[in-house]
Assembly symmetry: C2
Homo-oligomer: 193 residues x 2
């Protein structure tokens, strides 16, 4: 997605090793016009997938997932929450989210009643990096017996390997800006799919 | 907003004392069509306010705030994050959020560069109860010298007193479903403004 890539090059900043900050239009301040275009693009990519729901994890993935749900014909949008032990219950599907960058493990959850074996779910998130969040979301779907029709990431850091792990599981992965490398302060995009 | 009130009566559940759960269309699963109508309604209510930005706090407020930003002419949407000590920095405005229900204090933050004294900010959130989240968001605006043109809540629990605290500070408050009382499993709405 050309507009997005231009924006990343103009406003993205490379923080510590492998970390790209896009706070000015995705992660703190949201450009809703650009986000709407992202939603349209995901809807185009996953047209015909038969998706019945869109799933993301709080919080930064919500705007793009919302716009996608709108453009796929007002599908229900579900967002998994990061759970505190006090809030998770037996009525929830829970999965561990291993953060490779932070080195810790947290839990995400969705109430059982919002995912069932008849659901065909499209996962949308802001970043695909090591794939830890995506794998945790897939685990929630597995627990529910729901199928995953694909995973859309706004920005993919290809060099961190998430795509490979997902494709090995048969998941169709698509990202709007696929970054091949971030070295010496320079962002290089991969060839278009 | 009639559609919203009907939905609350049909699907809302009263959990513990004073707690209303609307997980099936706002807090876990989002009805994006209804949310879009909420955004249109907030845009109508705050038309002519001269808002330059929409502000919310992660995570459940994001969909309604997003829809409002879209319908107010694609305003930038900012969401404050709940901060961990490790993530807040001197580049952020921070405010304490006192949870009267949970009895704890947490911190919310927004990077300084996204709020300035020239901003006229509309705050949108999913719930207005005791006003703790709204007061914390107002504190962020005060730190930035930005003005608040109003506060819109999807659901207001009037009996928990948040509106009074905000109106005392001169804030225009508007909610789409204003609940006067929740007693003995029965929800009673206030008269329309």
């Amino acid at each position: 997605m050309k507009l997005l890539k231009e924006r990343i090059l103009r406003e993205g900043t490379l923080a510590s090793e492998g970390v790209l900050r896009v706070d000015s239009f995705i992660n703190f301040q949201v450009d809703v016009e650009l986000t709407d275009l992202m939603g349209r693009e995901f809807a185009r990519i996953f047209e015909g997938s038969g998706a019945t729901k869109v799933l993301t994890v709080e919080a930064s993935g919500i705007p793009a997932a919302y716009a996608t749900a709108v453009h796929m014909g007002n599908l229900p949008l579900i967002f998994a929450k990061k759970a505190r032990p006090s809030t998770a219950s037996g009525d929830d599907y829970c999965a561990e989210l291993r953060s490779f960058t932070k080195g810790n493990v947290s839990t995400i959850r969705v109430p059982r009643k919002y995912l069932s074996f008849s659901d065909r779910v499209l996962i949308i998130d802001d970043f695909l990096a090591t794939g830890s969040a995506s794998l945790a979301l897939l685990e929630l779907l597995n627990l529910a017996g729901a199928s995953c029709v694909g995973l859309g990431a706004v920005i993919e850091k290809e060099f961190q390997g998430g795509r490979t792990k997902l494709e090995e599981r048969g998941i169709k992965v698509s990202s709007l800006a696929r970054i091949k490398s971030m070295r010496e302060g320079r962002i290089e995009f991969a060839e278009e799919d």
